[in-house]
Amino acid sequence: MTEVHPPSATAVDVTAAELPEQAARLLGGGARLAVVAAHHDLDSIRVVYLFTSGPPDQRTELHLRTNAARPVVPSLAAQSFPASRFEREMHDLYGVQPENHPLPRRLVRHPHWPSGWYPMRADAGPRPSLSGAEPFPFVTVEGPGVYEIPVGPVHAGLIEPGHFRFSVVGETILKLKARLWYVHKGIEKLFEGHPADQRVALAERVSGDTAVGHALAYSLAVEDALSITVPAPAQRARAALLELERLHNHVADIGAICNDVGYGIAHAHTQRIREQLLRLNRDTTGHRLLRGGVFPGGAHLLTVPDPAAVTAIAGDIAEIVAVALDNTLVRDRLTGTAILGTRQATDIGTLGYVARASGLPFDARVAHPHTGIDDLAVPVHRDGDVLARFLVRAEEIRASAALLAALLPTLTAGTVTAGVRQPRADRPASGVGIVEGWRGTVVHRVEAQPDGTLTRVKIVDPSFLNWPALPVALADTIVPDFP
């Protein structure tokens, strides 16, 4: 396996007038808008637009400065749907006005939060008291027989809160409006002012199911910012942990899909396998969700999992998948349900298995590798229905198991670290980490002072970009088939 070092981003300062043109050039060249992050410097708000593409791994940043007292940026919503979401988030947290935004509504801060108070700004101060609840703005669909179904934010199952407003005629879904961010934790703010090498535990807790993905993206970003070179064995250990995380999440998802169509036996067996994987994880890093394995500068393994055990588990999963798909009732429920077309998936900027089930072959392990991986099979399906997403998950399990079978024999237990070096330059440093987590591409961008104190961490979870695909995929699906 070859050693790979992720390149640092090229930063370009732009003016408000140049931004749309530069963005159009980058997007036209096949790059995707991975991050839009605002930064409150002393007297200005600096907005960083990170465009990434690969392979070959390329990262370009556009930096735009605007007045902190009245921050305005030109909206890129017309060019990129993800940009419109980032701009709404930026408006809620920093008060940056996107000019000519088609839908400048609140996104992450619900309407009962005080207006004019922007929590991420350096001068935000304590939170004013919350105002009374304001109505949830959604488009009312009118017509004979159209009614609305409000669901959540409290659900019957053990899932995170989210409010969904279905507009339905008969049983067919006309429109779905989702409202999320009920549990916005303000994690980005919690990073600020702490030493970069001591905040990996917080990164692991960004999302419980993506502990490795977020810890690794954070670590890569810190290493990029502070110019730390990580030894190859540590990078391989990290790659193995990432695949272990993919395995336990994908198998749980496969079981959940089967359970939701009433095929309980597959669910029972995937739960059994997931438990085996979680115990394997506990032996590997000391934590069932693989916390504690990745940190800036290196990786830590208590034991190296037995490759034969992983291969056997993957075989077990393949059998369950085959049994489930041989059941005509299960296959019928999955086929043709909630189709997300390739064009729609591209426009929304979906990532991960959602994108790969809709014909987009993007995978950060190929586009932005942090370690050399030979022969990674990236499964792609074109149908965009639940069956395609089910199959992509199943095939990714096989690919992950094959990758683990190749990686694990090269690993040894113990800690491999470069040691966190004191940074060399006396100017603030920035770094980007890109990782293919199990739900899709996780991106972290950090900025730190010369002594390694974090000044800003921007986290982009793939679900931020995947959620808008749900209402699109559900149009014309009937309510009782809700996947």
Partner: protein, 313 residues
């Protein structure tokens, strides 16, 4: 007088056994799926717990909501007492009539659907609309399947049909009988809200049928609804058992015969319940718009049974 005693014994037996049937089905399914599962009497424990809690009634709900659990329970108890489970000599020959039994079951269904609408929530309405769609397709099948058996006997009285079957089992094991049994089995699954028509174990609000209608119930009311729902499953399985496995049903009200009949009835129920649970392991829930196809199929089976029994007789 003794016929009334029989009816009371039947009603108590069905009411007592019904939660155990559910418990058995869950246990069988759990074992077959490789899970440990709950204990047999768990549904009884749940009922006891809920019966101790006060019901919470939604602010917008009206009389249909409060009346439905009672109506559902009353119709279930009436059918359990009247239909020929232990003895073919019931106290209410008129009530044991096929059309009356199906009508009583439908009355319970409609009461619950109205209660679902009465809450004014989207889920209640959704569940009610789905339930009525299914009920409209199931009830004719129930009627037809039993008609196929009644043409031989020349009466729609269930007691007479079961008695005729018990005296001459050869009448039951005919092509018409087999067709009718298949039709009645499918109708039973649909009416009782089992897979593949409805998933009683789901937590997805949007896919529910029966569960969506009863979402707003709590405490004693919920206990009544769930108890009655389990009784309805037992009633239908019991009918299926006694119509197509007609042995062991007493013809009078002698205590010894009744005890024997009760034992046989419980064994039959356990066997059928176990069979249904085992079958559920292998199926998933149908798409809602495919359910009418399944039920239309069962209706055709019932129709063929009627034709076969009158033509081939």
């Amino acid at each position: 007088m003794s016929a009334w005693v029989t009816a009371a014994v039947q009603a108590v037996l069905v009411a007592a056994v019904a939660p155990l049937v559910i418990g058995l089905m869950r246990a069988v399914r759990a074992r077959l799926e490789g899970r440990a599962g709950g204990r047999l009497a768990q549904p009884w424990r749940d009922l006891r717990k809920q019966l101790r809690k006060e019901p919470v009634i939604p602010a917008d709900a009206g009389m249909f909501f409060t009346a439905a659990p009672v109506v559902l329970m009353a119709t279930s108890v009436l059918v359990a007492g009247a239909a020929p489970y232990l003895s073919t000599a019931g106290p209410l020959p008129g009530v044991a009539d096929l059309v009356v039994v199906v009508g009583l079951l439908l009355l319970g269904t409609v009461a619950l659907a109205l209660a679902g609408l009465d809450t004014g929530t989207a889920f209640g309405g959704m569940g009610a609309s789905r339930e009525m769609t299914i009920a409209a397709l199931v009830e004719p099948t129930l009627l037809l399947a039993v008609f196929a058996l009644s043409t031989r006997v020349g009466a729609t009285d269930l007691g007479a049909i079961v008695a005729a079957g018990a005296t001459d089992p050869a009448r039951v094991f005919t092509p018409a009988g087999a067709l009718a049994a298949a039709a009645l089995a499918i109708a039973t699954l649909a009416e009782a809200g089992r897979l593949p028509v409805d998933n009683p174990a789901t937590h997805l609000e949007l896919t529910m049928v029966h569960e969506a209608m009863v979402l707003e119930y709590a405490g004693r009311d919920l206990a009544l609804v769930e108890w009655a729902a389990s009784m309805r499953l037992t009633i239908l399985l019991g009918l299926l058992a006694n119509l197509f496995i007609p042995w062991g049903v007493a013809s009078g009200a002698q205590p010894a015969a009744l005890v024997l009949a009760a034992g046989v009835f419980v064994v039959k129920l356990a066997a059928l319940g176990g069979l249904v649970a085992a079958g559920e392991v292998f199926v998933a829930k149908l798409r809602l718009f495919r359910v009418p196809e399944l039920l239309a199929g069962s209706f055709v089976l019932g129709l063929l049974a009627v034709i076969a029994s009158s033509v081939l007789a």
